[in-house]
């Protein structure tokens, strides 16, 4: 009996080995790339926008025969907007033999996950993480197609100085990597004559900002700047008007969401937000807009960036003639790429050379771009 069991075990082991090695061969011919973003939880919509845009780009390449004569497969990873999950999903992607990553969404997830991609020599392009730290650590394989908070903060600060001509500014932030980072960059780029009367953090998830806004009101600023996301941004805009605070409200791309207008209601009117130019105004993006909306409906705020990130990865693999991450990364650093948003070139850090930020304003319940192209 014992002998039979041993024999069965050995036969089983051999079949397993054969199966695994047999299974490996076709896999080498498929090129795996992955879209990693929050697919569940509060930011699930952003993850969906990103993975759908990446899927669109992959399908377009596959219908033309793939890249390097091999088919492309898109894996989807869920980091649940949590840095801990981001690290574990990143390790899983590396061990599954993924050659490039489109993602993550939150700066707080992208930063720890990029350590893993960089060590493994895998190209990562984030479509949405705007914190400077993402590309400031000298990692050669880490890129982004969106702008940086210091570029965004600078655009906002110049707008506040030159267009709004403010004298006194109050700054609030939500104490996150993104929110505080943006508030800091805004503050740094303000003219020295402008007085910052208040700089303070508020808690994410809080609903009552009346106490701090009452203090803001007593300091009589011309502008209230908020670094954070739309749930708090909407409530702050609403409560400041209810308290009779009449100064301008300015915020960044984290607040740029139709939900902001729904939460703040009429109080959103006149709010200034910095964001990328509308894809509708970019001639080269029309084809993307058409195919995306035919297949998935209206594109989200980061869909175009995710689509372009996927395009850059696939074009660079083709130019490099290999999927070896470090070689692909050098190609991305040294070549300009024709993508849906126009021509994109990356600097030595991995940021796009041209900062794609302009100011938008809420008018009659709609977000309207104030200038058609970035200045």
């Amino acid at each position: 009996m014992k002998l039979v069991r041993y024999l069965l075990g050995i036969i089983g082991a051999i079949t397993l080995v054969l199966l695994v090695s047999g299974g490996c061969r076709p896999k080498q011919e498929i090129i795996k790339i992955a879209a990693v973003a929050p697919m569940t939880g509060e930011s699930a919509k952003m993850g969906e926008d990103i993975s759908r845009a990446a899927q669109l780009a992959v399908d377009e390449w596959n219908s033309k025969g793939g890249v390097l004569g091999r088919k492309i497969e898109l894996l989807i990873g869920d980091d649940r907007a949590d840095p801990k999950d981001a690290v574990s999903v990143a390790s899983r992607m590396v061990s599954q033999g993924v050659v490039a990553i489109v993602g993550h969404y939150n700066s707080s997830c992208t930063i720890p996950a990029s350590n893993i991609y960089n060590e493994a020599g895998i190209v990562m392009i984030t479509p949405a993480s705007t914190n400077p730290m993402v590309t400031d650590r000298g990692y050669r394989t880490i890129f982004r197609t969106c702008g940086r908070d210091d570029q965004q903060g600078k655009v906002e600060a110049e707008f506040a100085t030159n267009e709004l001509k403010v004298k006194r500014v109050a700054i609030l932030h939500d104490k996150t990597t993104y929110g505080q980072g943006l508030a800091d960059e805004f503050r740094k780029n303000l003219w020295s004559e402008i007085e910052v009367v208040l700089y303070e953090g508020v808690a994410r998830g809080d609903k009552d900002f009346t106490a701090i806004l009452t203090r803001v009101k007593s300091l009589q600023p011309d502008l209230l700047m908020f670094g954070g996301l739309y749930p708090e941004g909407g409530l702050i805009a609403k409560q400041m008007r209810e308290l009779g605070l009449k100064c301008h409200f300015l915020s960044g791309d984290g607040v740029f969401d139709p939900e902001f207008i729904r939460i703040a209601g009429p109080a959103a009117e006149g709010a200034y937000l910095s964001y990328a130019p509308s894809p509708q105004d970019i001639p080269t993006a029309q084809n993307f807009l058409k195919t995306y909306s035919e297949r998935w409906g209206e594109p989200g705020p980061y869909s175009l960036f995710a689509y372009d990130a996927t395009q850059v990865i696939l074009k660079a693999i083709e130019l490099a003639g290999t999927t070896e991450g470090r070689k692909v990364a050098e190609i991305i650093h040294s070549h300009p790429f024709e993508v849906a948003a126009g021509t994109i070139a990356f600097d030595q850090k991995g940021d796009p050379v041209k900062a794609p930020y302009i100011m938008w304003q809420v008018k009659n319940g709609q977000l309207i771009p104030l200038s058609p192209s970035p200045s």
């Binding site: 509060e42 009552d208 106490a211 203090r215 009101k217 008007r241 209601g265």
Partner: protein, 300 residues
Amino acid sequence: MFFQQLINGLTLGCIYALIALGYTMVYGILQLINFAHGEIYMLGAYLGVIAWGWATSLFSQNEVIGLEFLIIFSAVLLFTPLWGIAIERFAYRPLRYAGRLSPLISALGMSIFLQNFVMLTQGAREKVFPRLFGSSGITLGAVHISPVQLTILCGSVILMGLLHLLVTRTRIGTAMRATAQDRQMAQLCGININNVITVTFAIGSGLAGIAGVMVGAYYGMINFYIGYQAGLKAFTAAVLGGIGNIPGAMAGGIIIGVVEAFGAGYISSEYKDVYVFIILLILLIFRPGGILGERVAERV
């Protein structure tokens, strides 16, 4: 600025007080901390949104604004007490003689269940609460009181007054106080304590439901998670005032609201929640029973 912060704090405090009453009444009678109470508040807010949907589908124009209020508040006053009673019936009554720890665990389970139930059925994204009030308000010098704040302040004071009358002047109130003092003795005197407990849960849940609607109208935004945060603060308010004591819960709620507003307004909003707990710690060191905790006779 002082008076404006006071108004902000009082508004917040009234909400905490309304929720704290439910904690304290249940504790007075069952010595049970009903952790699912915060979720009733959250359910009340969601019910407000749903009832507003019914109201607007019934009356296409905003011809009768008072009618919307009537529908929302009667829906909340009808359903939240029923939910409170159902929670007691299913989660606590079978465990009433099972020691103190089992109902507590059951309460935590109920809270987690309700939160996730709402998350799955209503979605995890924030819901926008309908604008029930105008934005004009009253301005007295530098103080601005919005119509919502005024409604919350007046409404809570009226509700608390009614509750006080109910507890001190009516038959059922007397029965509640008797049950709180000594459950067995009350039973021997012919009081049906099951009825008393049912009424207690119904009243506490109704108050929490109304608090939920008022908060929804105040901030204009709700999510499935608000019950946890508000419940924690209200529970602190109940402990601060002396758990089991009705006037204590009202006082505790208002103190917490005002401390939060002044702390955030004058010191820093980054550590808003810290001030409340510092006050609680200091108080518990010197008066472990809470502000009004020692007058056992009044607890319900």
